[in-house]
Amino acid sequence: MSSEALHQFLQMGGYAPFVWGSFGCAALVLVWNVLAPRWQRRALRQQLEMMDPDD
């Protein structure tokens, strides 16, 4: 892709902030949905660790 074409692509016909803003927000939400359950699991592991010594 030439730099001219790339520039045009990034411009999105003048709608750049709206199009890229939308895709950016989507990326954030999708990544959050992958990470949030993992953070939750990590906290759970610590909880299980604490009750580990056969109570």
Binding site: G13, Y15, S22, L30, Q40, R41
Partner: protein, 247 residues
């Protein structure tokens, strides 16, 4: 058939089953969302009316669609939880709410970003937008209610009741563009067999929607596993899996 259902609803069996399914769902959603992004941003031609701004459809429509689908899954689980008191169904209600809330928020934000260049305003109080905002509050209500209860089971039952009552709002969101005069455009792809969109534009949209659905499945299964671990932390099956490092 019934024995299969019983097995599926048993926490240890479901925990392992989810663990086997998770990587495949993750891979599928990665490929589908990748295809949808490339197809939507690069391969699809610009719209003859909206130009490049129409590309927002590739994140807005899947998010909006999922915001309703997730609610239906949550409400169905709520009904099962209230009628048969199945523990796994209670967990689905609690686990689905934050995912649904995130998709609803995304649908609202991308809708605002699309509304500004097309309608000239980020927000208008019309039926579609307002009912979608109510949907977000319903999800937040379920999350808040769950956190307000000390006892997990009592909390889940309260959440299930709220989720079930709120299902009427899903119907309102769905038909709002037909029942009321709205700035929001009507459905683009649901006219089965004859969608009002060209195939080059349609395929990435379907890919993206399937990608969002598999990602929802992925997040839901992981949250369900967490919920089961939390509730049954003292049971034998959790200890076994903890001992063999399968947590």
């Amino acid at each position: 058939m019934w024995t299969w259902f019983h097995r599926l609803a048993s926490p240890p069996w479901f925990y392992d089953f989810a663990g086997r399914l998770l990587p495949w769902l993750g891979l599928a959603s990665l490929l589908l969302i990748g295809y949808g992004t490339v197809g939507g941003l690069l391969l699809a031609p610009p719209d003859y009316q909206q130009g490049e701004a129409f590309r927002i459809i590739y994140v807005h429509v899947p998010a909006a669609w999922l915001s309703l689908q997730v609610y239906l899954v949550m409400a169905l689980a709520a009904a099962i939880a209230l009628i048969w008191r199945i523990k796994l169904a209670e967990c689905v209600v609690v686990a689905a709410a934050p995912i649904g809330a995130s998709f609803t928020a995304l649908a609202l934000v991308t809708g605002m970003l699309w509304g500004k260049p097309m309608w000239g305003a980020y927000w208008v109080w019309d039926a579609r937008l307002t009912s979608e905002l109510v949907l977000l509050f319903l999800y937040l209500g379920v999350i808040g209610l769950h956190q307000a209860f000390e006892d997990a089971r009592a909390g889940a039952r309260a959440c299930a009741l709220l989720a079930l009552v709120g299902v009427v709002n899903v119907v309102i969101v769905k038909y709002s563009v037909e029942w009321w005069n709205s700035l929001h455009q009507g459905p683009t792809i649901s006219k089965i067999g004859k969608p009002s969109i060209s195939l080059e534009m349609l395929w990435p949209l379907l890919g993206m929607t399937l990608g969002f659905m598999t990602l929802f499945g992925h997040a839901l299964l992981r949250r369900l596993q967490n919920e089961l671990l939390q509730r049954e932390a003292r049971s034998q099956w959790v200890r076994e899996r903890w001992a063999r490092g399968d947590v």
